[in-house]
């Protein structure tokens, strides 16, 4: 038995607090999820404090220090411009984390609003939104993102746009189906009978019930977005040099794989570990928030 936790702020209702506490407890018990969380926290700190963590400049070109092997000064060696590989990976984490979070938030917002509208209002709104979602889902994601990058130009902002465009449809589908189920519940019926405005019902009554699902969707869309960005950058239609995106680092490093394999391999390990860590967190959250989704 753990000692009863004293909440810092007074919870609104008893039920809220226990739901949150149960979720946190279940999450904490999941060992892999906690390992993932620890990794992500370290990564975030490393990315934010990169200039202080690393003594090297990620952009400084030193042609007399090209492709050096691993050493005490350069833990993962240097690249073809003599730049420290580890430092560039650390700066690359900034891009990957931003790409993981920003477009996911955008697509989650769009998907939630459209999903609730579509599910609650039904009729023409539902038809239009769902057909649009069908089209987006039928589009192979990578190709859609590539077309967006072709049209708008390859830079970070457009990656955000491309990934948000790719992601909203599946969110809308999930939220819609939850809204459809919620709409038949008594408390919604009661609110309707009370004469509550439709907008209030949708966003004050239905929305809070979708939040657990949204948290899971968010945590699982982060690794996906990181993967897409690194693929786009690898193919040359994403982040452009001299910026340090992990996908780009692998693409540039592969030309020197004979002389210095770590230049290409190390950023790939960074992607692998980060994607895995976020997947662990996502799985942990899913199991904690909705045990019925397990297995």
């Amino acid at each position: 038995m753990a000692a009863p936790a004293t909440p810092a702020t007074e919870p609104e209702t008893l039920e809220d607090a226990s739901f949150l506490r149960d979720t946190l407890r279940a999450f904490r018990k999941n060992r892999m999820a906690m390992v993932g969380l620890a990794f992500v926290v370290l990564l975030v700190l490393g990315a934010i404090f990169a200039p202080w963590v690393s003594p090297h400049d990620p952009y400084r070109v030193a042609l007399d220090e090209q492709l050096l092997p691993m050493s005490h000064t350069y833990w993962l060696g240097t690249d073809n411009f003599g730049r420290d590989v580890l430092t560039r990976i650390l700066y690359g984490a900034r891009i990957s984390l931003m790409v993981g979070i920003v477009p996911s938030l955008v697509s989650l917002t769009i998907g939630t609003v459209l999903g609730i509208l579509s599910g609650y209002l039904g009729g023409k709104t539902d038809f239009v939104v769902m057909r649009l979602a069908d089209m987006m889902i039928a589009f192979p994601s990578l190709l859609l993102a590539m077309v967006v990058m072709y049209t708008l130009g390859a830079n970070l902002l457009n990656i955000f746009l491309a990934l948000a465009l790719v992601g909203w449809a599946s969110v809308a589908r999930v939220v819609r189906s939850q809204t459809l189920a919620l709409r038949e519940k008594e408390f919604i019926e009661a609110a309707r009978a009370n004469g509550t405005a439709r907008a209030t019902i949708m966003f004050a009554h239905i929305f809070p019930n979708v939040v657990p699902t949204l948290i899971v969707l968010f945590s699982l869309s982060i690794p996906e977005a990181i993967m897409w960005e690194s693929s786009l950058s690898f193919l040359g239609v994403g982040v452009q040099p001299p910026e340090a995106s992990w996908g780009l680092l692998v693409a540039k490093g592969k030309e020197y794989i004979f002389q210095a394999p770590s230049v290409a391999i190390a950023p790939g390990i960074a992607i692998l570990l980060t994607v895995m860590a976020f997947n662990f967190i996502g799985d942990g959250l899913r199991d904690a928030l909705d045990p019925s989704m397990k297995d």
Partner: protein, 311 residues
């Protein structure tokens, strides 16, 4: 059954038309003159004007869209600007290579994924289960371009067992197929495992055990038959996914397929070629989903019954 298939096909048509519209708009609002952009500074204004006229770029967008649609329906996707050849020819020539890659990768993923999933489910929470689930997690979390590079480095450059890249025979297909197949093997293994675990909870499995059937018999003859239904349907979707996943694999291993055409079309700013290639891939994905849905209804009697009620 036939009614369902027919209705499902009819529903796909507006989706397809919508996609052509989105694709056309996205590719045709590119800022700047596509012809001038592509030809860079080498072309004189005369030449640019002539190419523009050839491509009907001076017509209003809506006219151009309908012309594109009408031509596409007749199998004419225009000419590649860079290679000056019909896009359809280029795609059809490249498609068999992509198809072969996708089929080989799919085989790899089934041969690894299904047995791994079954073993994991049967020996749930054992060391084998952990090993296979860890392996499939690795497959799902690894960027394809990186695992490709890694295998290329180990097997082609260091051990010199297999060719690095190119496409001149079956040996050239091994690494790409493993790279592309591994990531979906993970998905298949996880799905097989959870589906089998779900089926094993049913009463008829208990009955089969109660009548004295051996465990292998219970699994192969009773459980697997039902457990594999969702797996088979995801396979159809997966083949379509592999076709687009081939974009990265093909460009790393220099396989002359549809994926590589797409990447090249972007870097040379060859709009008609890009348009055609993306449309082609999207049609394949829609077909894959269609097959998956129909297959699902053929395999699962419960869904078949549900559809009869709906119809």
């Amino acid at each position: 059954m036939l009614m369902f298939a027919l209705r499902r096909i009819l529903v796909s048509i507006p989706v397809l038309i919508g996609i052509t519209m989105i694709l056309f708009i996205m590719l045709n609002v590119v800022p700047g003159d596509p012809v001038a952009l592509m030809m860079k500074e080498h072309a004189s204004p005369d030449v640019i004007a002539r190419v523009r006229a050839q491509m009907h770029l001076d017509d209003p967008m809506i006219v151009r869209y309908f012309r594109f649609l009408a031509n596409a329906l007749q199998g004419d996707l225009g000419n590649s600007i860079k290679l000056n050849r019909p896009v359809t020819d280029l795609l059809l020539k490249a498609f068999p290579n992509t198809l072969m890659l996708a089929v080989c990768a799919a085989l790899v993923s089934w041969v690894i994924g299904i047995p791994a999933g079954v073993l994991s489910a049967v020996r749930r929470d054992s060391l084998i289960d952990r090993f296979f689930m860890g392996f499939s997690l690795l497959g799902v979390s690894m960027p394809v371009f990186w695992s490709a590079l890694l295998l290329q480095y180990i097997f082609a450059m260091q051990l010199r067992l297999l060719p690095v890249s190119g496409f001149y025979g079956w040996k050239y297909m091994i690494l790409p197929a493993i790279v592309l197949g591994w990531s979906s093997a993970g998905v298949i293994a996880r799905l097989t495992r959870s589906s089998l675990l779900e089926v094993m909870r049913h009463d008829y499995i208990r009955t089969a055990r109660a009548k004295g059937l051996r465990e292998t018999g219970v699994i192969t003859r009773h459980a697997l038959k039902n457990a594999l239904i969702p797996v088979v349907t995801i396979m159809a979707i997966q083949v379509a996914g592999l076709l687009s996943g081939a974009v990265i694999t093909e460009s790393i291993f220099s396989i002359p397929g549809v994926g590589r055409i797409t990447v090249n079309a972007i870097s040379s700013r060859d709009m008609p070629l890009l348009q055609g290639a993306v449309l082609f891939a999207t049609v394949l994905v829609i077909l894959g989903n269609l097959v998956a849905d129909i297959l699902y209804s053929v395999l699962d009697p419960r869904i078949r019954a549900q559809m009869k009620k709906d119809a």
